[in-house]
Amino acid sequence: MAPLPCLLLLLPALALALGPAAEEARRPLALEALGEAGELAEELWGAGLPGDLPELEPECRRLLAAFAEGSAALTGCLGRRARPVRLCQACHCHYRRLLAQYGNIARAVGNSSESHNCAKSILTSDRLQIVVTLSEFFNKTWEAANCANCLKNNSEELSNSTVEFLDLFNKSLMCFEHNLQGQTIYLSPNNYTEVCKNCNETYKMLNDLYNNLQRMNRQGGESGHSAHLCIDVEDAMNITRKLWSRTFNCSVPCSDTVPVIAVSSFILFLPVVFYLSSFLHSKQKKRILILPKRIQSNASLVNIQEKYS
């Protein structure tokens, strides 16, 4: 009996989660249908069996449902944006909404006694406390991803620098794509000189911007974020760098082995000279023996010599 309502509960949430993701135009029809069915089932179930939830006020149930929807939406977004990482760009609205929903549950809104009851009955009345756990999980993920770093202070939209970076990132990706036209990737490592030449400028700009961001971030470390940039930016840069230096093999540092060897062997040679010369020229330090005033009995000498032999 138990799994079925659970499933039924989840389905509308999924459907709702899919709903706001408007930029994802392809919505699976089947899922939609399922979702509608689920919604129907839930209403039926909720209305039909009032005795099952004796302590939960309708208001609270509404809050809980909203939270469930919000978390489902966020989960879906996070999952879909896992690779390539676009978490912060795509999901920050969901996250903000979820925070608000959680806040609604926890905080007193409207009739204080009732909300208080809501918070109590939803958040703390059982061992599992699933709502708290979910909210903690999202918070932790958000913090690990360091998304606050890409967002403006009110967390409503991406910060200017992030937008700039992403623009540049897209530009360089386009550049790569453009220059690779007609070639198949992974063809042979020597065929990328074109890319390297043409996209060098964009790549350099991107790299510099990233380094700048990093430096600024490190200097403004007291704002509470760690030294990392947000995961979107980091990952974007990572991908580009990997493409650039691994796949295209564009960054070829000049290695000047000969001068390095020369200089280092010169320096390594110096101590040899030093020790040899001090061995040969420095006067060896002599110690002057002081003769102790002692009874020179044979007993002690014998004693010592016995030990020697």
């Binding site: 790299n207 007291e222 980091e234 840069m237 990572n238 760098r241 990997k242 650039w244 230096s245 691994r246 960054s251 540092p253 000049c254 290695s255 000047d256 001068p259 390095v260 020369a262 200089v263 280092s264 320096i267 390594l268 110096l270 101590p271 030093f274 020790y275 001090s278 061995f279 420095s282 060896q284 330090k285 002599k286 110690r287 002057i288 023996l289 002081i290 003769l291 102790p292 005033k293 002692r294 009874i295 020179q296 009995s297 044979n298 007993a299 002690s300 000498l301 004693n303 010592i304 010599q305 016995e306 030990k307 020697y308």
Partner: protein, 804 residues
């Protein structure tokens, strides 16, 4: 009455064993002391070449000369030998742990009532608190300055390397790095070599000697502290393979010695406080507290600090002293912790209890299982062998340095060369390494890209291009896979030789961190290969193997046991590691001791310090006090002529510090029994204040000398040359009975060496008078007489005295 047996016995075999003319001057004829009890025991050994002097001596009336026994024999040509480890230097004197209970002392004790003694007790606590606070603050200062300067240096070099990686010309970066290192180290070395050479090294051997009761000149001066602190900062910033933890112990000791005296002779300031503590006994107690506070600040290990003092100076240890030492340690680590947490911006967090923090070792992630204990023990064996190798190499190097590189400018040049080579080796290793790790998610302070792909850093650079403390923590805590085995192997090899080469340079620097670093590197390598061999099923985290390797290596080098276990345990903050760390350290010590002794003991020996170990050599029971003691002894009469005292004190050939006082009976036929013991320092104070019998009769208003006058002169009594005694005054008499210690410790001639040794060590004596059964002075045992006998490779050895 005293009969002198004149018997010449000098077998050819004995002669061959000695230097040709070496023993000639040593054959001082025995002049007294063959009472009935020791009849036949005394034989005079003469070489044919010294018959002449026998002739001279034979017309001296021996019976009359019995009170005043001096060596008036002309010295032979001094015998010069190259420095070796079987010498005892004359430079080192003993500290006096024994209280001189003379009349002044008794008077003072009568004057001070009960409450005053309670004040003294409170003052002790206050001093300990101050020691803790100041030691903590000094540690903070060192830490902050090193962090900033080293950060600056690494940023400059990194910027330079990054720039030249693109354009080419990396040899300039190498030159820049080497020059920066060399110049910083040059400053550090110059101040040590030219201003205060005793500040060189880690300072632990010196403090060990001090706690053992050897007075190392300048070791607890304020000047030494300043040089030490600056020297440590400069040598760590200069990128040498050194740490700043060992010198903290020395710094703590100097702070303790300074505070407890309430004045500084370097600054020529006397704050007129804590005058009660101006003597060796009290000072030494406080120095042990200071050393403990230093350890505690260095490793965040207060208990380890207490145990360190205990291990090194435990013969003078009691419950109250330990409790005070513990107090000082706790205060020290707490001060460091609170100041550093304020500095790092999270006040009240208290997360950095020591200069080095090993980081958190969680039980879940880095716990160990019982099956791993044999592996740890095996690591202990490896650590012992490597430690012994380290010490043996360092021994040869130090010997070479003492013999050939003794001029300060040469020492500075050597330090600079080491700094430049350290940079070069680091650079070449980084240059040749192809071990690249992704930058994401790592906590590398100065990631060097060099030839790695964009977004990656050179893994060798985390080990070389960083301060050693940070590298140690990285090796402990970086996730598995951060280093590849090749990198670790090369790093261990290179760093081993660099650290070995660096220790003993004329810079102030410690050996703790380099040892930990070497150990952590091979330990991690060991851990990686272990998980590789077992297909990575269990024992996943190489971090704990790095920890055990570090413990093994450090134990193999310094051979500390109890205190090191506790220090490591406290630094990891995990008590469950206590057992494996103990096993590892034990194994490392046992294995290492099989080959050579510990680094600190080795350096003490190479410095020719008369260090007394815990026990006399085991096979020495057949040696008696007769053979050990120095004789004849320069004695003073109870009422002595000033001229005689001045002459004795000014005699450069016999720089004695304690003089037995004998009965001043003019009747020569009577036995001149021992009445007391007086020290050179006391005599000098007496001469300075001109406490002569005649003057006392002349004017009754003359101020009586108090104990305070002696304390004011402590610890640097003026040399005898600075005291002017006129010709008239030379004829005056001086009465010593009030000032001498009336009950010096004595032993009979038949006492065996271990017995004498035990008395000496346990009571912290400086002079032990050997008497015959008529209470006549026969000889004197001092620290050097006992320290001469040592258990060498072939049994009992005798060291010779030398001027250094």
């Amino acid at each position: 009455m005293a009969n002198v047996a004149k018997k010449v016995s000098w077998s050819g075999r004995d002669r061959d064993d000695d230097d040709e003319d070496g023993r000639a001057g040593e054959t001082t004829p025995l002049l007294n002391g063959t009472g009935p009890g020791a009849a036949g025991g005394a034989r005079q050994v003469l070489t044919p070449s010294s018959f002449l002097r026998i002739g001279q001596l034979s017309n001296v009336d021996l019976n009359e000369d019995i009170r005043e026994l001096e060596t008036e024999l002309p010295r032979q040509h001094p015998n010069e030998i190259p420095h070796n480890e079987k010498l005892l230097s004359l430079k080192y004197e003993s500290l006096d742990y024994d209280n001189s209970e003379n009349q002044l002392f008794l008077e003072e004790e009568r004057r001070i009532n009960h409450t005053a003694f309670r004040t003294v007790e409170i003052k002790r606590w206050v001093i300990c608190a101050m020691i803790g606070i100041l030691t903590g603050l000094v540690a903070c200062f060192i830490d902050i300055v090193v962090e900033n300067l080293a950060g600056l240096k690494y940023r400059v070099v990194k910027g330079n390397i990054d720039k030249f990686t693109e354009k080419g010309g990396l040899s300039f970066s190498l030159l820049l790095w080497a020059t920066l290192n060399a110049s910083v180290v040059m400053v550090g070395s110059v101040i040590v070599a030219f201003i205060e050479p005793v500040a060189a090294g880690s300072g632990i051997p010196q403090i060990k000697c001090y706690l053992n009761g050897v007075k190392i000149p300048h070791v607890v001066r304020l000047k030494t502290l300043v040089i030490k602190v600056c020297g440590v900062i400069l040598s760590v910033v200069g990128g040498l393979a050194v740490g700043k933890e060992g010198p903290m112990i020395h710094s703590g000791a100097v702070i303790a010695a300074g505070i407890s005296q309430g004045r500084s002779t370097s600054l020529k300031r006397d704050f007129k406080i804590f005058e009660y503590f101006r003597r060796d006994t009290e000072k030494r107690d406080f120095v042990s507290a200071g050393a403990a506070a230093g350890v505690s600040a260095a490793f965040g290990a207060p208990v380890g600090g207490v145990l360190f003092s205990l291990e090194e100076g435990a013969s003078f240890w009691n419950q109250f002293l330990t409790w005070r030492i513990f107090f000082a340690s706790m205060i020290s680590t707490f001060t460091l912790n609170s100041v550093l947490s304020v500095y790092h911006g999270n006040a009240w967090d208290l997360s950095s209890p020591g200069l080095i923090n090993f980081g958190r070792f969680d039980n879940e992630k880095m716990g160990y299982t019982i099956q791993e204990i044999p592996i740890f023990i095996f690591m202990g064996v490896v650590g012992g062998i490597l430690g012994a190798l380290f010490n043996a190499l360092n021994y040869w190097l130090t010997m070479f340095r003492i013999r050939y590189i003794h001029r300060p400018c040469l020492q500075v040049v050597e330090a600079m060369l080491v700094a430049a080579v350290t940079a070069t080796v680091g650079f070449v290793m980084i240059y040749c390494s192809r071990d690249c790790q992704p930058i994401q998610g790592s906590s590398v302070a100065y990631p060097l890209q060099l030839f790695c792909a964009d977004g990656e850093y050179n893994s060798m650079a985390t080990a070389f291009f960083n301060t050693p403390e940070k590298s140690v923590v990285n090796l402990f805590h970086d996730p598995p896979g951060s280093y590849n085995p090749m990198t670790l192997g090369m790093f261990t090899l290179m760093y081993f030789f660099l650290a070995c080469w660096t220790y003993g340079l004329t810079v102030s620097a410690g050996v703790f961190i380099p040892s930990l670093l070497i150990g952590a590197a091979w330990g991690r390598l060991f851990g990686i290969s272990l998980s590789y061999l077992t297909k990575g099923s269990i024992w996943a985290d190489p971090g704990k193997y790095a920890l055990m390797g570090a413990a093994a290596q450090l134990g193999g080098i310094v051979r500390m046991t109890l205190s090191l276990t506790v220090i490591m345990m406290e630094a990891t903050g995990n008590v469950t590691y206590g057992f494996p760390i103990m096993l590892v350290l034990m194994t490392a010590k046992i294995v290492g001791d099989y080959f050579v002794e510990g680094l600190y003991d080795m350096h003490i020996q190479l410095q020719s310090v008369p260090f007394l170990h815990w026990e006399a050599p085991v096979t020495s029971h057949s040696l008696t006090a007769r053979e050990v003691m120095s004789t004849p002894v320069t004695c003073l009469r109870r009422i002595e002529r000033v001229g005689t005292v001045v002459d004795i004190l000014s005699d450069t050939s016999s720089n004695h510090n304690g003089f037995p006082v004998v009965e001043s009976n003019p009747d020569a036929t009577q036995v001149a029994g021992l009445r007391g013991l007086i020290l050179r320092s006391q005599l000098i104070v007496l001469l300075k204040h001109k406490v002569f019998v005649e003057r006392a009769n002349l004017s009754l208003v003359q101020r009586r000398l108090k104990l305070k006058d002696f304390r004011d002169a402590y610890p640097r009594f003026p040399p005898i040359q600075s005291i002017h005694v006129s010709q008239d005054e030379r004829e005056c008499m001086i009465d010593l009975s009030e000032f001498m210690n009336p009950s010096p410790y004595t032993v009979p001639q038949e006492a065996s060496l271990p017995r004498v040794f035990k008395l000496f060590r346990a009571l912290g004596l400086r002079h032990l008078v050997v008497v015959d059964n008529r209470n006549e002075v026969v000889g004197m045992v001092t620290r050097k007489d006992l320290a001469r006998y040592r258990l060498g490779k072939e049994g009992l050895e005798e060291l010779s005295l030398a001027q250094t």
